[in-house]
């Protein structure tokens, strides 16, 4: 990859942040969705455990 590739014809400071941001948003979506699911699992397990001790 020559220097001109990274320079993006002079537009580097617009093009690269766009792509970086795009991958950051994709990554955030994966991370947040997984975290949300795990939190829900924990909450469900706690609810089940409480129901067990009640009965």
């Amino acid at each position: 990859m020559s220097h001109s590739f990274w320079a993006m014809g002079g537009y580097a400071r617009f093009v690269w942040p766009c792509f970086l941001l795009a991958f950051a948003v994709l990554g955030w979506n994966l991370w947040a969705a997984r975290r949300y699911h795990l939190q829900a699992r924990r909450r469900a397990q706690r609810a089940l455990a409480m129901a067990d001790t009640d009965s």
Binding site: Y11, C18, V25, N29, L30, Y36, A44, Q45
Partner: protein
């Protein structure tokens, strides 16, 4: 024959299916996005007018397209949940919102960064950017409304109604903004049109569009699992599904 259709309304079935589907969609997304990014950055020739700056389209266009799709999914799922009282539909609607909002934000920022070298300004009241901004407001409204209710089921129904009202408004908003923008278009005609597409430019774009779509579906499946659990905390199937 129609059992697969009825099973779509069953929370435990959806919970299991979403796990499998999500993996498949994610794999497809990875391949498509990898190809689209590399081909778009390396192999597509620079645009005649915009030079290498046009490459931003490879992330801007998919983000904008998905932001609209996610809203429609949110509205349609909400409508299904409202009309037929299917909890899973509300789970899908709730799951789609934050994903769509994040894509809307991405579309706005990349659009703004693309505008800077093209128009010389970081923000312009261009019809597409303005419509996208209003779409972000609509997303925030629906998410805020849902979370404002203590009763989750009521929140789901209210948010679904708002999403439906919003989706009816999206074409109206877009039309009004285009009309308004044409009124105020100054002497400097800065065209934010799509660059002319030769195949080596087009294929990476199609791949990115398809890849983002698969990615959205993958994340949607992941989120739906969490949303379904939240709505079914004490159901019997949850015990077996969580293996406790």
């Amino acid at each position: 024959m129609w059992t697969w259709f009825y099973q779509l309304a069953s929370p435990p079935h959806v919970y299991r299916m979403a796990a499998r589907l999500s993996g498949g969609f994610l794999a497809a997304a990875l391949v498509l996005i990898a190809y689209g990014t590399i081909a778009g950055l390396v192999f597509a020739p620079p645009d005649y007018q915009q030079g290498d700056a046009f490459r931003i389209v490879y992330v801007h266009a998919p983000a904008a397209w998905l932001s609209l799709n996610a809203y429609v999914v949110m509205a349609v799922a909400g409508a299904i949940g409202l009309i037929w009282r299917i909890k899973v539909a509300h789970a899908v609607s709730a799951a789609s919102a934050p994903i769509g909002a994040s894509f809307t934000l991405l579309a706005l920022v990349t659009g703004s960064l693309w505008g800077r070298p093209m128009w010389g300004t970081f923000w312009a009241w261009d019809p597409r950017l303005t419509s996208e901004l209003i779409l972000l407001f609509l997303y925030v409204g629906v998410m805020s409304l849902r979370s404002a209710f203590e009763d989750a089921a009521r929140g789901d129904r209210a948010a679904a109604l708002l999403a439906i009202v919003g989706v009816v408004n999206v074409p109206i908003i877009h039309f009004s903004v285009v009309w308004w923008n044409s009124l105020h278009q100054g002497a400097t005609v800065a065209r934010f049109g799509k660059p002319a597409m030769v195949p080596s430019m087009l294929w990476p774009l199609l791949a990115m569009l398809a890849g983002f779509l698969c990615f959205y579906l993958a994340v949607l499946c992941m989120r739906v699992r969490g949303e379904v659990l939240r709505r079914e905390l004490r159901a019997r199937w949850v015990r077996e599904a969580l293996g406790s």
